[in-house]
Amino acid sequence: MIRDITLGQYYQKDSLIHRLDPRTKLVGTLAYLVSLFIFTRPLVFALAAVFLILVLILSRVPFSYMLKGLKPILFILIFTLIINMLFTRGTVIFSWWKLNITIEGLKQAGSMGIRLVLLILGSNLMTLTTTPTRLTNAMEHLMRPLKLLRVPVHEIAMMMSIALRFIPILLEETDRIMKAQLARGADFESGNAIKKAKSFVPVLVPLFISAFRRANDLAMAMEARCYHGGKGRTQYKPLKYKGRDFAAYTVLILYIAAVVVLGKLC
């Protein structure tokens, strides 16, 4: 059912990785993603893969669950592989009609594929082990310096968490409106793309009206509960670094150092 969609697909479990501060995980994930793209040595990829597997084991998220996360990008993955394979110039090893496959192309495709897979798995691991609330919380904290540049950090974080709260509700509502229109004889299936798109107008109009009404109600409910922006606001569960977070940062620094050493040496 639609209400079962949890955004950010959090996987409930009590593990070391789950308990890490969300800021640690956010910084760690970003550093990891960058590490995938600075060097193209096979050894670096091997190290990155080993690192990910170790974290995955620590997180106690089943491997099959992780693989599921790859499904949506399977198409993009295959597409990238083919493009890289066919359109990279170099020594031709196989040629058919106008298509040439080169050694460089194969290498390029291989490293791109590995990068993409590690990238998706790495960021999935973060969302699987961190609730959306804690993630937005972490983002608000990490972006705090931007306040000096007058970026409305608190407001952005608040909008994100409200959006996360309302997406399942609006999805359910879409479902309900679609069923109601189906019962009135609407047809969402047949015809070409344009016709299909047009058939969604009777769904979108009530959906938008309802979304605006909800927004209005919500704003009032927030005001009634003394909401007046981020000023003077305290926190129910403030983020606090613990010993394990410092350990995690140390491991992260060691990992990056190893990546740099491997990337430069070989």
Partner: protein, 303 residues
């Protein structure tokens, strides 16, 4: 009858003893077209005056569009009076410096449970109000626990609001208001979107808050069964308070209520019909037990 006289005019209370005092309140919604010309004016609240004492349980009845919500929004400074004044616990709601104090003194629960829960997890939602008020972290945790326990929702503290029933969601909304430690709580048709079970849960919670915690409750509803426990009932029609009195006094005026497109509780209606047929029953019977008692007495007397 003497009673009738008292019903006609709002009870005159000494200002000092009243917790909420509304004087000659008037509010209009003005509809404008694209060129900002006035298209139409709806007078939603029209010269309303009444007083509420601390610890009272007030019910406000009225047909759709009679101005109940507009009135309610004036009590915690979501709307501001155009004419007249609203004094809550000694504070004039027009005083901008008191805005947050006013809103934390009078909490509000709205009709649609989905549109007032802000947190993605139950306990986070309850914490939202105290966070805004700047309550220290340790105390927030305490307040969250205490108010969720009061509403019997503690075991759901880690649940997503999307997985709760309507009645449970409204109980979370009430807990979220209670966590702000208000002196008064306004419930604007909190049961309109609920099934009978959910309605029962919410009304029971509201009564408990009034009786056990001593919180002033203003319950807006159009379900007659929900007002029979109130200390006092106000009936609104077309922006005006048309009747004021105890539930018994109000429900003895069946015909007037019907003219305002309101019904009376089933039992009251039955008693009223029986009385019209000539049975000597008293006015404004509210519960089944009362009706049964009067009927048996009548049977005994008749032999």
């Amino acid at each position: 009858m003497k009673k009738k006289n008292k019903d006609k005019q709002p009870s005159i209370l000494k200002k000092a003893s009243s917790f909420l005092s509304i004087r000659n309140l008037k509010y209009e919604y003005i509809r404008r077209d694209e060129e900002n010309n006035v298209e139409g004016i709806t007078t939603a609240v029209d010269d309303v005056s009444f007083d509420v004492k601390a610890g009272e349980f007030i019910a406000v009845l009225g047909h759709n569009g009679s101005g109940k919500s507009t009135l309610a929004k004036h009590i915690n400074a979501i709307l501001f009076p155009e004419e007249g004044e609203v004094i809550l616990d000694g504070m004039d709601t027009k005083d901008e410096e008191k805005l947050l104090d006013i809103r934390r003194t009078a909490g509000m629960v709205f009709q649609n449970p989905d549109n007032q829960i802000i947190g993605q997890v139950v306990d986070e939602d309850v914490a939202f109000g105290p966070e805004n008020m700047g309550v220290p972290t340790a105390e927030i945790a305490q307040r969250v626990e205490e108010s969720l326990k009061t509403l019997g929702m503690w075991e759901f503290r880690n649940a997503s609001p999307n997985r709760l029933s309507g009645g449970q969601k409204q109980r979370v909304s009430i807990a979220s208001v209670i966590a702000m430690h208000p002196k008064c709580i306004i419930l604007d048709e909190p049961t309109a979107m609920l099934d009978p079970r959910g309605r029962y849960e919410v009304i029971r919670a509201a009564r408990a808050l009034n009786e056990v915690e001593g919180i002033t409750v203003i319950l807006i509803t159009h379900y007659m069964e929900e007002v029979i426990h109130a200390h006092r009932v106000l009936v609104m029609d077309k922006g005006k308070v048309k009747m004021e009195g105890t539930p018994r006094e109000i429900f003895s005026r069946v015909e007037e209520l019907k003219r305002m497109r309101l019904t009376v509780p089933q039992i009251t209606e039955l008693a009223w019909e029986l009385k019209k047929e000539g049975l000597p029953l008293s006015d404004g019977i509210l519960t089944r037990e009362e009706l049964v008692r009067e009927l048996t007495e009548y049977k005994h007397r008749k032999g």
